[in-house]
Amino acid sequence: MHEFSVARSICNIAIEEARRHCVERVTGICVEVGVMRQVVPELLRTAFDIAAKETILQGAKLEIHDVPVTIKCHDCGQFAASATLQVQCVHCGSTNIEINGGNELMVSSIRVAEEVGHEH
């Protein structure tokens, strides 16, 4: 249930960015979430809705983009990207694989209704 902590951090960042751009209302937030982070999207959305209440983020849509892991096979030498955790090479079935990446957890952008003025 660390989704609540993650949601709180997302809100803090989004509110800070909105303020920095003198924005009154945020309508959407894009986050990149690596497969390895074990974040449950539904839980994160629920947690976000709660954390966003009575802030300029209330009602904003949380867009969650999954970032895949890269799997390198030590037997056949091929690579594969996967949106879920794999225990086997998708090409040859070997379990002698190496898993890389998928550790992203980032607010990539916010969407706002109004035109944005200059930064302070």
Partner: protein, 216 residues
Amino acid sequence: MNIEVLRDVQESIMADANEIRASLDQRGIRMFNLMGGDGCGKTRMLERLLPTIAERVRCAVLEGDITTTLDAERISKANVPVIQLQTDGCCHLEPSLIRKGLDKLPLDELDVIIVENVGNLVCPAEFDIGEHHRIGMLSVTEGHDKPLKYPLLFGQADAIVISKMDLLEYTNFDLDQCTRNIRTVNKKAPIFEDSAEWHFDPSFLDWVSVKRATCA
């Protein structure tokens, strides 16, 4: 319209964790983050470890039990400072709580601090608490597939302890398969086998008690 942000969600937690690490560095203290499932034997290992390494390093424990003080009471018998961190039902530890614990410890008299994280294979692994080393613990009764199911915890561990080895013969735990599974997610962490009925692997004791150079 869209405003590009590109900020790490954990940035403020990472900044807090880095600050804690820097202040420990200044005092030459090494902090360990002990993580594993509930009941895998973290507290039991600490009860045995603390008296064993007492001659080599000055040690303290931060105990991250969710609500009770039971584990802290068990550890305090080992005669080292132990501070209970009340997470109030939270599933993991964060730097803010660690700092409160550190404030209560006699830092000038310590070489090593071991934090027993909340028993959970998912959430604790997500949070840097300012530690220098992560220890991932897995008991043989949990099954050899767990490194693959919880790749973040076992992938980021600097050492992995396979515990309750005395129970190996009563389970279908496959030690070789477990090692291969660990290596799938973690290429280099040393793997130590342990049991409450055994003496510690000397190389594990060495790994824990290496002193940290003070940053002058």
